[in-house]
């Protein structure tokens, strides 16, 4: 039926609403008139009625009453109205929850600014949840991966939810290089020696890292000690330029 002629402003032409409703349907003329009155009351803050279009174009499975009352120009009001309209369309809630959870996991993955080795074992956008940490997240974030290969191989994945902390202690896998070594059957001498070489390289990196940290500790304990020591060392260049001069 063709009804509800709306009078606009001075420069606005007359616009006609077309509605198709079946007898006994909940969508009635009273709601349409109420909506039109609300639009005229708020004026420019509301969306232009001409941009709404004909409700025939909206799918039959969408509750037109719920959509008509959302105020898009007021975010807080739209948020509360969204909760209110969930009573009319609760099926949308099930669509929103997985999306929010996936976005939450993705956000936690992007906190550190770079992909971690644990992420390479996970399919994208699935967001596996793990139990309990062993190593500090800050240490994982600050240390280069190559220098802590042993730690990273057995470390806990970081994309855990906080609600899983303390429920069950995380244990490294058997082949992570941290737990007890279980020799495989038909292990060759060359393979074992290759693994020894990898462990040696990792230990060597840790020793180098330890020396660097010790150097930093020396700077913290005595800030001027290293500079004074450097100044007191033998200066070969200066001595070569002036061989008979006391340096």
């Amino acid at each position: 039926m063709g009804i509800a002629e709306r009078h606009g402003d001075e420069n606005e032409t007359t616009w006609t609403y077309d509605f198709d409703t079946a007898p006994g349907e909940r969508f009635g003329i009273a709601h349409v008139l109420q909506d039109v009155a609300a639009q005229n009351r708020f004026g420019p803050e509301r969306a232009d009625a001409r941009k709404i279009g004909v409700i025939q174009d909206i799918g039959s499975d969408v509750d037109a009453l719920a959509l008509a009352r959302v105020q898009m120009d007021q975010l807080h009001a739209a948020r509360f109205q969204g909760h209110e309209q969930m009573l009319f369309g609760p099926g949308l809630l099930h669509l929103a929850e997985p999306s929010c959870a996936a976005a939450d996991v993705q956000k936690r993955r992007q906190l550190f600014g770079r992909p971690l080795p644990q992420q390479s074992f996970q399919p994208g956008c699935l967001g596996f949840e793990h139990n309990g940490p062993t190593f500090c997240r800050r240490r994982l974030r600050q240390s280069p991966p190559a220098r802590n290969a042993l730690i990273l191989r057995g470390s806990a994945p970081i994309n855990r939810g906080a609600r899983y902390v303390g429920q069950r202690r995380w244990r490294p896998p058997r082949d992570a290089g941290v737990g007890p070594f279980m020799p495989k059957q038909n292990e060759t001498l060359e393979g074992l020696r290759r693994e020894i070489d990898e462990i040696d390289a990792a230990l060597h990196d840790l020793l180098i890292r330890r020396a660097e940290v010790s150097h930093a500790i020396a700077k913290v304990k005595q800030p001027g000690a290293l500079q004074a020591k450097a100044r007191s060392c033998l200066r070969c260049g200066r001595r070569a330029k002036r061989p008979f001069c006391a340096v």
């Binding site: 020696r193 040696d200 390289a201 230990l203 060597h204 020793l207 180098i208 020396a211 150097h215």
Partner: protein, 100 residues
């Protein structure tokens, strides 16, 4: 197959020192890795060192400790035949002399 592989030990040390960087002296690094290698060798095979040290015992015993680890049991001898007799039964032989 004997547990002692001096060529592989030397290759390991050369590779580690070649990739070394930083303030840690290479001698210290070699000393650390000698201890680790000696401990691994002790895991593979229990052995005892017999050192012919002559009269100046301390220098060669210290040299043997530096190479085979500070906790490896060492027995020093003043004459060559005294260390040669038990060394025939030992799986690993370490002979030090004045020419070292």
């Amino acid at each position: 197959m004997p547990a002692l592989r001096p060529a592989r030990e030397a290759a390991i040390l050369r590779r580690l020192i070649a990739r070394h960087r930083g303030d840690l002296p290479p001698r210290v690094l070699a000393r650390i890795w000698r201890e680790i290698i000696a401990a691994s060798l002790r895991v593979q095979s229990k052995f005892q060192l017999h050192v012919y040290a002559g009269e100046s015992q301390t220098a060669f015993v210290d040299l043997a400790h530096a190479h085979f680890g500070s906790l490896t049991p060492i027995r020093s001898h003043t004459r060559p035949r005294w260390w040669f007799m038990p060394a025939r039964k030992s799986p690993i032989l370490w002979a030090s002399s004045r020419s070292l």
